[in-house]
Symmetry: D2
Subunit: 353 residues, 4 copies
Amino acid sequence: MKGGRLRVGVLGATGVVGQQFVARLAGHPWFELAALFASPRSAGRRYGEAVRWQAGGELPVAAARLPVRTITPESPPEDCDLLFSALDAASAEALEPACVAAGLAVATNASAHRLARGVPLLVPEVNAAHAALLDARSGRGLLVANPNCATVGLVAVLAPLAARFGVEAVQVTTLQAASGAGYPGVPALDLLGNVLPGIPGEEEKLEREPRRILGRLAGGEIAEAPIVVSAQTHRVPVIDGHLLALSVRLGERASPEAVARAIDEFGQPLAPLALPSAPRRLLRRDDAADFPQPRLHAGGEGGMTVAVGRVRRCPLLDVRLSALVHNTVRGAAGGAILNAELLVRTGRLGVRR
Amino acid sequence: MKGGRLRVGVLGATGVVGQQFVARLAGHPWFELAALFASPRSAGRRYGEAVRWQAGGELPVAAARLPVRTITPESPPEDCDLLFSALDAASAEALEPACVAAGLAVATNASAHRLARGVPLLVPEVNAAHAALLDARSGRGLLVANPNCATVGLVAVLAPLAARFGVEAVQVTTLQAASGAGYPGVPALDLLGNVLPGIPGEEEKLEREPRRILGRLAGGEIAEAPIVVSAQTHRVPVIDGHLLALSVRLGERASPEAVARAIDEFGQPLAPLALPSAPRRLLRRDDAADFPQPRLHAGGEGGMTVAVGRVRRCPLLDVRLSALVHNTVRGAAGGAILNAELLVRTGRLGVRR
Amino acid sequence: MKGGRLRVGVLGATGVVGQQFVARLAGHPWFELAALFASPRSAGRRYGEAVRWQAGGELPVAAARLPVRTITPESPPEDCDLLFSALDAASAEALEPACVAAGLAVATNASAHRLARGVPLLVPEVNAAHAALLDARSGRGLLVANPNCATVGLVAVLAPLAARFGVEAVQVTTLQAASGAGYPGVPALDLLGNVLPGIPGEEEKLEREPRRILGRLAGGEIAEAPIVVSAQTHRVPVIDGHLLALSVRLGERASPEAVARAIDEFGQPLAPLALPSAPRRLLRRDDAADFPQPRLHAGGEGGMTVAVGRVRRCPLLDVRLSALVHNTVRGAAGGAILNAELLVRTGRLGVRR
Amino acid sequence: MKGGRLRVGVLGATGVVGQQFVARLAGHPWFELAALFASPRSAGRRYGEAVRWQAGGELPVAAARLPVRTITPESPPEDCDLLFSALDAASAEALEPACVAAGLAVATNASAHRLARGVPLLVPEVNAAHAALLDARSGRGLLVANPNCATVGLVAVLAPLAARFGVEAVQVTTLQAASGAGYPGVPALDLLGNVLPGIPGEEEKLEREPRRILGRLAGGEIAEAPIVVSAQTHRVPVIDGHLLALSVRLGERASPEAVARAIDEFGQPLAPLALPSAPRRLLRRDDAADFPQPRLHAGGEGGMTVAVGRVRRCPLLDVRLSALVHNTVRGAAGGAILNAELLVRTGRLGVRR
């Protein structure tokens, strides 16, 4: 990295996704964790005291010592180059634009501005080209977003199909993990030996975001892909890992074998960029009859790979398959960090003076 | 009941479904539990000692005292009028026909003969007319089957739609309870905080059985309904209750409101028969956004009602909804008992001399 | 019941214990559910709309129609004879005495006044005589309390031991169900595939309350029993049913067989009173090696029986055993209702003019 | 390592503990995984095909390629220096002595020979000196055992107490993870929303093994420590991590603070030996009120550290505390590997010619 490591801050640092940012930024070769922001309730304490660490492994020592700070639209931090946002949508609404206006780069996991004009909604292996949306901006600040956690799994597996056969329509039913609702999130009484149908707001995101991500950049705008998505969502008693059962109507007919081959051959389009967080392969497919399973397979390549299985013919649409995405890693913090890495490598993001 | 209560036996009485038979037959007004059959491992002991009771409530005292007997194709019981079969498919293959040949009535939950010629595959509220298949038989013995547990939920909710609008195609994704795999069934390590995609053999049943159940009886045969079903199944960490997420293409377009009305108005077609196990309504619909949930809603009317929720437009097919069936009750033992009650009431089943 | 059924209200009616009160009062022969009270958030709506019903079975129709009301210390209800309180301790602090001062009977599950002078802390089969504490009161109002949910299981199984052998000390480790923390209560992320050691405030109650319950009434005061209790508590991923592993030092040595016999012979001391909610036996013992289990055995006699198993010698103290109590029934709502029934039957509680 | 890496084999390689051996031996600096043994059912296939990998992360590539072999008492492997045994007790009974007789070193997790004369039962940080039991043996073969998985947690936390204050008696109640029962192990229907009291055979081990481990080596024999242990065990719906609630009577009175200090100062007695698998500290103590929790804290230092919390006065014995041990790592495979490392470093185990 020319010019040294970027100083990064995390917004919403004590939450489930915030912790995942902290875990993954420890020892990052390009980014130096410089500031942690949370609600006034936590502010003033050391991060190690304010957080209820649940991100696996041990809380990184350097992060534990950082003071938790608050942030308001009126006081964007001056000592950061880049902010990773794990805010909820309501908080992100005003806070993220204020930080951008102050010249900061913001890589957000929040949904507030995902569909806003000029904001690339990125899964880098799928639509890195959309980063060019940023090139028309005035000023130094920028905002880049990753999609909804379940959407990431969906577009990841659709990408090779869209490229090779075209995708016209998708029926997707999700079985989503508890961590996707944050902490405290879902009460235990709702999820012990139970399933909750219908995650509020989730089906809309799953039906809309893929159209944008799989769309084409033309004339400084995204022309959405004409894909019809029908989503039915469920919360299941799983810690991490959103499982998706898909049925896809392709643009041109293809056998399950051809679809499996397209998935296997997708590889890692970002390989030439050597991004630190990029997995060797975006998609890992396995022929086992009960693959993929959230508890066993969500963590492939540190949670950055999407697991795919059960590719078979659909008697109604064309092909069916199952996909599994680690919701707090590839579907949130890991995805946002990869987005920022892409911007750094493509010269859109650097150290502020 | 003319001629007194029928003497009934249960095949596979120590298993999950077998226990449910025993629980529901205690105090049954028409049926008297007379014999319990299980594998040689249990034989010779009192049922109360041989069984690991998990069917809820307390093991009925009269059943606890019955000796567990074995049965072979060569030795159908002579002291029973009716057998309820909770056998696995392999055991049922030879045993059930042998019992029928010996003049016994068999109401089976096993899949072995569900699609056999002359065997009514019944959900009485949906296709009671198919019982007439039995009228062509020679001899006194008879075999009647209930469908796969998840299929019951599917056809229950399709029935009013098929009747009013026609049904052309269904995408169904299931989240199925652990009890559906019997005991010991699924290992805890596979299901704690996990989901297993792809239940062996289940998708085939879900795609085939509804065509027969919703078919028409004509000329002593069932003409299958031309419905395309695409099923994706999952085992989830739930005790009882299979949840189904459906998307349906109707024969004629209908609004979600019209579909909801059809469901609400379906009522209980069997009401005039006053069958002891029939619920007041086959379908219970609720508008709550997170209805139905297995732990809370599978047990409506003793588990005999199918819960329906989330009726809404589908951007791809026509209408989407969620359905929940108690798999060991309506989907198994309760369904089989209701089948037998139907046969009794329609004069097809009575006390053997 | 002379004078007709008592008009009863439930405080905290929308919570986990409040719902259990509502469920158990439907069809009660002596009590008529007349009023439901909850926080201002729910007030003004019908109970059926305000509640997220989780108490099993279906919400009783009559209760569903009742309006939810609020209550303050300044406005005790005038249309009730008896209040069942499912309040948290903080709310109960002022509210319950205000109701008593207004001449109401209050049977509370809250901990606020359990150890107060003049308040009987009752498990009727164990210490019904303590109800006489009420006889010295001035005025018509009265307050009776049931113990902490886990304490109920503890004193239930200690009662026959204390009576026959004396009890000097108890080591008790609990595995407590999620419903004991109310709703929303414990976050799913804390309890899926996990155990939480140390339930706040619980160990103190388990160590103190048994001394009072097993104490003697003398001179209008309770002389606490000199029993040393050491409690270690855990929250486990179970819906209902607190499991206790006990080791007991008896006053006089006794074999496990003698202890088991004492438990088996305890029976139902209240039998002559014919209280509607009293189970046939307080204690149900079983010799199975893995008895009792929360999911299978907490609900004996509608949840009013305490299950006891694994009685065996302790190499350190005298005898070890396991006990299981349904925490929201016998340990809360069912216990409070039984308390009120005892007061009615013993002439301490009746219809207000 | 003088003389190159030892060639090691794993007995019972496809089971839960066997997989953990395979995972931890990949890349081990001293040991080279050379052979995998399992039941005839798996034999002849590549390990990668025979195993249902559940040990976390990805199956090591080199192990996946190894053929699965069978072993009988008549055919101990000739191409191994050291065997790690994850056999069940029955299989270990004859097989392990046969391997020892053939000159092999066996580090076993099986219980069959744990209490046999001449077999060190080791937790190296606690009783490394017991390894000297091996010095009296004739022949090259040797057998070293690690204790029961829950026992490891118990003696780990007792070690500093025994050393500083003496330990006279212990009441211990366990909450043990599903993985401790192997695969398939406990049925999901037994553990979803449930707890099983009384793990067969486990209480005896917990009451006996600590006496030996904390005993003194004198005259070539272990003089057992006169500690009375009373154990009550439970299986809980947790994947990994046995939680223990202890109450301890010390030889000399000590405050909870003094006990906590003894735990904190225990450190890593093996530090001078620089064993590859030894954690920096055997015990990790934390003051948080709800520490330790299986899901969050069993994996400290790769699962080799025992987590300790809730140190407080006991009103009955002297001090209470909670301890958590990763049952398949420190309590099984990791412990056995550490045992072998100790033997290598102390010159008792080397490459066979």
